[in-house]
């Protein structure tokens, strides 16, 4: 019997018919097939998945089907360093239709693994720099040197230059990192899944949301569950490679010129847009948080 509390709490069960979610993990003991839906390229998620496999694939003959490898490949643990310590009863096999050589798949996997770790480092650095910027802005706000307005925040030209420098430093950190290859679009064929279920007592397959949408799950003849991972960290990490992580826009304004005509003064401003990770939003002083735009 799987204890619901031993499953990482960010997993939810998706009802593919209504697209709604629920949390009754006791159902895992009823099914032999679980489809894990992920946003790829997150190390945090790999760690959660590892914990999930330990709980769910507790039988002698279990299998995880891996995206990016052809379905006739059995994959050694060296290609999956983040899962290398999983018990030996779990076999890793390819999930996609057979049209690529093992060598090619392995080379791609090695490239992806190296990038995963590099992007995790980049994410930590990005977080650190944004955090420093937010704390500085909060401090300046409390000293009356940052003014929130309906467009964004008004800062001194000096501060704006500092923020612009931060932006170029982040660009410079990001630029040398190559992009992840696009995730496979072909999904595991249902006959392959049925074959695997004859061979193994429990099977997990990892799909992207796109693969889930294009699959014909209603044709699956066995009870199965679709699990979603909705963790902020994994969404953030997944979006690092193309800087599409969930973020808010902070518009920074600095006075460019002020022209006085009679009693009226017309002020023009330079503007700069900074993207700040959504998960850091709560770090902003509420008065500054109020001007963030999504």
């Amino acid at each position: 019997m799987i204890s619901p509390t031993s499953i990482p709490s960010n997993f939810r069960i998706l009802d593919p018919v209504t697209n709604e979610i629920y949390t009754d993990m006791s159902l895992l003991s009823e099914v032999s097939l679980v489809i894990l839906v992920e946003t790829p390229y997150s190390l945090t998620l790999k760690a959660d998945q590892s914990q999930f496999f330990r709980q769910f694939l507790d039988k002698k003959r279990s299998c995880v089907l891996i995206n990016g490898f052809s379905q006739d490949h059995e994959i050694s643990r060296q290609h999956l360093p983040y899962w290398s310590d999983l018990p030996a009863n779990i076999t890793f096999r390819g999930a996609n239709p057979a049209n690529t050589s093992m060598q090619e798949c392995a080379a791609t996997a090695t490239r992806i693994n190296a990038l995963l770790f590099k992007y995790a480092d980049f994410g930590r650095e990005l977080d650190k720099r944004h955090r420093e910027m937010i704390l500085r802005l909060n401090d300046l706000y409390l000293r009356g040197e940052v003014n929130p307005c309906s467009h964004g925040i008004i800062v001194s030209r000096e501060e704006m230059a500092k923020i612009a420098t931060l932006g170029s430093e982040i660009q410079a950190l990001h630029k040398p990192l190559p992009l992840f290859p696009p995730p496979p679009t072909s999904y595991t064929s249902l006959p392959h899944l049925h074959n695997m279920l004859k061979k193994y007592e429990k099977v997990c397959v990892i799909w992207t949301v796109d693969q889930l949408r294009r699959s014909s799950l209603e044709q699956l003849k066995v009870p199965h569950l679709v699990l979603l991972s909705e963790e902020e960290n994994s969404l953030y990490e997944s979006g690092l490679s193309d800087l599409s992580y969930p973020s808010s826009k902070l518009i920074v304004l600095a006075e460019e010129s002020a022209i006085k005509r009679g009693t009226e003064t017309t002020t023009t401003y330079d503007t700069l847009t900074v993207l700040v990770s959504k998960r850091l939003e709560q770090l902003f002083h509420p008065a500054l948080r109020g001007v963030l735009k999504t």
Binding site: P4, D24, S26, G144, L283, G290
Partner: protein, 516 residues
């Protein structure tokens, strides 16, 4: 990284008194002598969190003695660490009372405390058992659904008789024993004196608490004061007093997750948690079970759709489309046959004492009328009168402040479109809170600001420095700029207050004051 903020990172949030919201940058703690903790009372999740925070606050205080100031303990009373039963406190921490409403601590209070603690333990057990119950029910029904042996009507599940019977007996089996223990325990409380009226006199207690903090700050290098969050939502009197003494302080709140857990946990002792009904038809009979709403996410979405709320009438919330119509059609009398839920400007947070006294009465006290006046001001309407409301429910937390008006029959609200009435202070505080620095008043609509009167009004009428005059009502650090062609006159319906009229539209803008 040995600062207090780094040690407490991820364990609490800073409460900003102006916006009534929290943020996670804890750096203000590093310069604070006084740390005030806003808690949800009597929740275990917060007692544990508080114990850890106090321990860190004390251990990082290398320059002198730490003082723990408590709500619930009478002013002038001290307590030994071993007598403080809620959680463990280092012996060197000085524990002092700061609550003008509390009676002196006697042996009977210890008995009541222990009785209460046991009651809370039982309630906690009941909540756990209730979760276990819903997990079991969900597991049975979800499995039936997966194997397609369940059907639906509009409001019921059609299940096999054996399943309905199995589920029917579960509640008694799982929760029954603890309910019985709880009942026996409640019976033992008969001879205890009734609890003091602590929820009343909140305002008075804030004043006294602030004085105790000021006194303690002269003796102790670090002060950790614990109060219910309602004290901070009520008004800024504690903070204003500390500022006037130039005492460095911060107010901290639990983390978002802790807050959520505490609010759920805190509703159980009061028996005020939301419940939903699950109805099952087994071909012979209809079985209904009631479960806590907070656990309903365990049920499959298709099953969840058949759930119905236990309270049948949902309060009506007035949205923008509603007010658009009111303005277009110039409607001035509204009649509501269901409860009315109004999102309040937090700066018109109503005095809790008033609710304690008036909940059962047919009349509203002036605080509530002022609250309604300001609510309708921000909707561009002048509130005149309300009739028929018999009970008021107030909910105030960091997410929202609401007032729900209930009625035996119907509620009638009378409004006017001619001019708007509020107080300058409420208007500007609300703008600061919303992070919306500007409010526009439509052309030809007069605005009366009731708190601009007396000497200020006389001075304004003589030198016409409107922005300067209004800036005195702005929150600290802000000034006010008015734009538009404004006529200033000193009365509204013969009351000597400031009235602004305008031909082409008027705007108030809140700007940060730049100190010379």
């Amino acid at each position: 990284m040995n600062s207090l903020s780094s040690h407490l990172s991820g364990k609490c949030r800073i409460f900003d008194p102006l916006t009534r919201q929290c943020y996670e940058d804890l750096s203000p703690l590093d310069t604070s002598q006084v740390i005030l903790y806003g808690e949800v009372h009597e929740t275990e999740v917060l007692a544990k969190a508080q114990e850890e925070i106090l321990d860190i606050v004390h251990r990082t205080n290398s320059t002198g003695t730490t003082c723990l100031l408590l709500e619930g303990l009478a002013i002038g009373q001290s307590m030994k660490a071993e007598d403080f039963l809620r959680y463990s406190v280092d012996k060197s921490v000085v524990i002092l009372g700061a609550d003008c409403r509390a009676e002196p601590w006697k042996e009977i209070h210890k008995k009541i405390y222990l009785w209460n603690k046991q009651r809370h333990d039982l309630i906690k057990l009941k909540r756990q058992k209730s979760l276990e119950h819903v997990q079991k029910v969900a597991s049975i029904l979800n499995k039936e659904l997966i194997h397609k042996v369940i059907q639906f009507t509009k409001e019921e599940l059609v299940v096999r008789q054996a399943i309905a019977e199995e589920i029917f007996g579960l509640e008694e089996k799982i929760i029954g024993p603890v309910t019985c223990l709880l009942k026996k325990h409640e019976d033992k409380a008969e001879n205890f004196p009734t609890s003091d009226e602590r929820s009343a006199q909140l305002e008075k207690s804030n004043v006294h608490f602030a004085e105790q903090v000021v006194e303690a700050s002269k003796k102790y290098s670090r002060i950790f004061g614990v109060m219910g969050q309602a004290h901070f939502f009520l008004n800024n009197s504690i903070l204003a007093r500390l500022r006037s003494e130039k005492i460095k302080f911060s107010v901290i709140f639990p983390t978002t997750k802790q807050q959520e857990l505490a609010e759920h946990e805190g509703n159980w002792p009061l028996n005020e948690y939301d419940r939903v009904k699950l109805r099952m038809l087994d071909g012979v009979a209809l079985t209904t079970i009631v479960i806590p709403k907070e656990f309903s996410h365990l049920l499959h979405p298709a099953i969840r759709k058949t759930l119905s709320g236990v309270s049948s009438v949902k309060p009506l919330e007035l949205d923008d489309a509603f007010f658009k119509e009111i303005h277009q059609r110039k409607i001035s009398v509204l009649e509501f046959t269901q409860p009315l839920k109004l999102k309040m400007p937090p700066f018109r947070a109503v005095n809790l004492d008033a609710f304690a006294d008036n909940n059962q009465r047919d009349q509203f006290n002036s605080e509530i009328l002022l609250t309604l006046r300001d609510y309708f001001f921000f909707k561009g309407l002048r509130f005149i009168d309300i009739k028929g409301a018999s009970k008021v429910e107030r909910c105030s937390n960091e997410k929202e402040h609401t007032l729900t008006l209930h009625s035996e029959e119907s509620i009638t609200v009378q409004l006017a479109h001619d001019f708007l009435i509020t107080e300058a202070q409420v208007l500007f505080d609300e703008l600061a809170h919303r992070g919306q620095p500007e409010i526009r008043i439509p052309a030809d609509k007069k605005v009366a600001l009731l708190d601009v009167k007396g000497d200020q009004l006389t001075k304004l009428m003589s030198d016409c420095q409107l922005d300067h005059c209004l800036s005195a009502f702005a929150p600290k650090g802000y000034s006010i700029k008015t734009t538009g062609h404004i006529n200033i006159s000193p009365s509204a319906d013969n009351i000597p207050v400031l009235v602004l009229s305008n031909k082409n539209g008027l705007a108030f803008t809140l700007t940060h004051k730049v100190e010379p």
